[in-house]
């Protein structure tokens, strides 16, 4: 990331102050729609990165056949024996694909809180990434992202559903 990367999002710019939106008093009867009228013009100026992990932004990472998701116990990021076995199998598929960029997504169950779950999901993704690196997967094309409890797969209040949601998914995109 030597050069500064400037991404200009071409959105219509409306300059609006704080109180500049329609006076929507939403107290009157029932749930109101939440359509209001601010707009923004984001300018993304990436920082020079000294992070130990390359940023792999952009593009869509998708699941691959035979690359499996691993699950975790409640409030832990420790890789179980079954998870390690699954990551070994995944690594065997990932390693020959020099054309792939790999993203490990960390997720949590819906019982926890939003903020700490983001941290816990990041730790889960990191544990899986670290294990992939030990297995010989190229670390420069191996990223992580945490979604906390933002992308749960089920919502039932059962042990089975909670376990399904506590996971690390391995997704890829072609370079």
């Amino acid at each position: 990331m030597k050069n500064r990367l400037l991404i200009l999002a071409a959105l219509p710019l409306l300059t609006l102050g704080f109180a500049s939106c329609g006076n929507k008093n939403v107290k009157k009867g029932g749930a109101t729609d939440m359509i209001t009228d601010t707009a923004t013009s984001p300018t993304l100026e990436m920082q020079e990165s000294t992070d130990t992990e390359a940023g792999l932004r952009g593009g869509e990472f998708v699941s691959q056949e035979n690359i499996v998701t691993i699950n975790f116990d409640y409030d832990t990021s420790v890789l179980s024996d079954a998870a390690r076995q699954a990551l070994q199998n995944n690594a065997a598929i990932l390693k020959p694909h020099k054309d792939w960029v790999i993203m490990v997504e960390g997720h949590c169950d819906q019982r926890g809180t939003i903020e700490y779950n983001l941290a816990l999901g990041q730790k889960r993704a990191k544990e899986a990434r670290d294990y992939y690196i030990r297995l010989g997967v190229n670390k420069n094309s191996l990223g992580t992202i945490s979604y906390g409890k933002e992308k749960t797969l089920c919502e039932e209040e059962t042990d089975a559903c909670w376990r399904t949601n506590r996971r690390a998914e391995t997704k890829v995109k072609v370079k």
Partner: protein, 428 residues
């Protein structure tokens, strides 16, 4: 056997012992002051025959009256049919003096694209005008002006800063994506601040309420963006690889305490807001998150799972000393009371319980549960005067914004909003 258990608890020290027992305490600062009688006259049309002026005057009065009721400092005295409402003649003031020590009067005029509003406080003992305020603006600023006048009244008569001007920033998913919104403390004036069409969460206000920082996945990584409310612009503020979660600004607004991961374990960092240089605050603290400054900026409360489960810890920024405050199954989202005496957080005592709001003192010796049997209750945030706590609750089904007194009494939904609402942060 029983003796042995007791002994071992004693050996663990008083902090542990007290945390294990349920010590429920009264919250200092909750002592309500004796209410003073305050007369509230009818608000009058500036042009006596104008129905528009009359309607506007009544709109202003409704908002000011609600604000004065909400703050609970006053016992309002009203007598809408009395001719004393129609002037501030000596006779009228003499009438109000039989009811209260002070009187509020006001006049409003609706001129179409602009309105004017003038309000007064009379000291009824002397007949002197204590405060004479004049406002004018566009129609969309009516609520703002009424709230500012209510806070002027509170400040002049009690010496305390009111909260009628304050706003709550939060995330809501009614568009199909989580976006950041701001709403007045009374549920009015909803504004959508972001259109990221992604996941936008965890807003945090700047000290002067001119900016809101939040986490968004807009560019494929949980980055921290800055909303400049005056300029109406949003820009990425930190884009480190991994988590970029704002915890809040130091009192001098020079430092943001954050959760960052940067390819490593999530940790607490101090970000210089000008140079954007970083200082890592913890070593060997496992998964750490959710930092928040004490009001004096000398301490930072945060969450760490070093002991196995997420617990509230406090870091002294001068000495570097860290102490653990909680021993529950799960704790998150600490928020420091404006008085500095309490930390409110969401947590649960066993894995299968719902989440509830708790208070702890700064030793962890006194822990008080504020919500009971009412769905999941999360993300507490203090009002700027420390008398109320905003949070989210699923007690009515959807996740909604709720407000309660800081002793847990009088919980009520802020307003009716579509979708689910998340991570409220009450502004200054």
């Amino acid at each position: 056997m029983k003796n042995i258990i007791t002994l071992s608890l004693l050996l663990l020290g008083t902090g542990t012992l007290r945390a294990e027992t349920e010590v429920y305490i009264g919250v200092e600062g909750q002592k309500e002051v004796a209410k003073t009688a305050l007369a509230l006259a009818s608000f009058l049309p500036a042009r006596p025959d104008s129905p528009e002026d009359l309607e506007l005057a009544e709109t202003f009065r409704d908002i000011v009256r609600s604000d004065l009721m909400y703050c609970r400092y006053f016992e309002l005295k009203e007598d809408p049919l009395n001719p004393a409402n129609l002037s501030s003649s000596p006779e009228a003031l003499a009438f109000w003096k039989t009811l209260a020590g002070s009187l509020i009067t006001a006049k409003a005029s609706d001129l179409g694209k602009v309105w004017t509003f003038s309000g007064r406080i009379y000291d009824l003992e002397t007949g002197h005008v204590l405060l004479d305020k004049y406002y004018q603006g566009e129609p969309r600023a009516i609520r703002r002006a009424a709230h500012l006048f209510a806070d002027d009244i509170v400040l002049r008569l009690t010496g305390r800063r009111g909260i009628a001007h304050s706003k709550i920033a939060f995330s809501n998913n009614s568009t199909g994506s989580k976006e950041i919104y701001a709403i007045d403390y009374d549920g009015g004036n909803l504004i959508q601040l972001t259109h990221d069409k992604s996941i936008a969460l965890l807003p945090r206000w700047s000290q002067d309420a001119s900016r809101v920082y939040y986490t968004t996945y807009r560019y494929g990584n949980p980055d921290m963006f800055e909303i400049d409310l005056k300029a109406g612009k949003i820009r990425p503020f930190t884009t480190f690889q991994g988590l970029n979660i704002p915890g809040g600004l130091s009192p001098d607004a020079m430092t943001m305490v954050m959760t960052l991961s940067r390819g490593d374990d999530p940790n607490i960092y101090a970000l210089n807001m000008v140079t954007k240089s970083l200082k890592k605050l913890l070593t060997n603290f496992a998964v750490s998150s959710s930092p928040t400054y004490s009001p004096d900026g000398r301490q930072i409360a945060f969450i760490s799972n070093r002991s196995g489960n997420p617990q509230v810890h406090v870091l002294d920024t001068n000495s570097g000393k860290i102490r653990r405050l909680t021993r529950l199954n799960w704790c998150d989202s600490p928020s420091w009371s404006p008085s500095g005496e309490w930390i409110v957080f969401s947590g649960r005592e066993t894995a299968k319980e719902k989440l509830n709001i708790f208070l702890t003192d700064l030793t962890g010796g006194q822990v008080r549960r504020l919500t009971y049997k009412a769905g999941n209750n999360e993300d507490p945030s203090w009002s700027p005067d420390g008398r109320f706590i905003s949070f989210t609750s699923t007690r009515r089904g959807r996740r909604e914004l709720f407000i309660m007194d800081s002793d847990g009494s009088a919980p009520h939904p802020l307003t009716e909003l579509a979708g689910n609402s998340y991570t409220p942060n009450w502004g200054p």
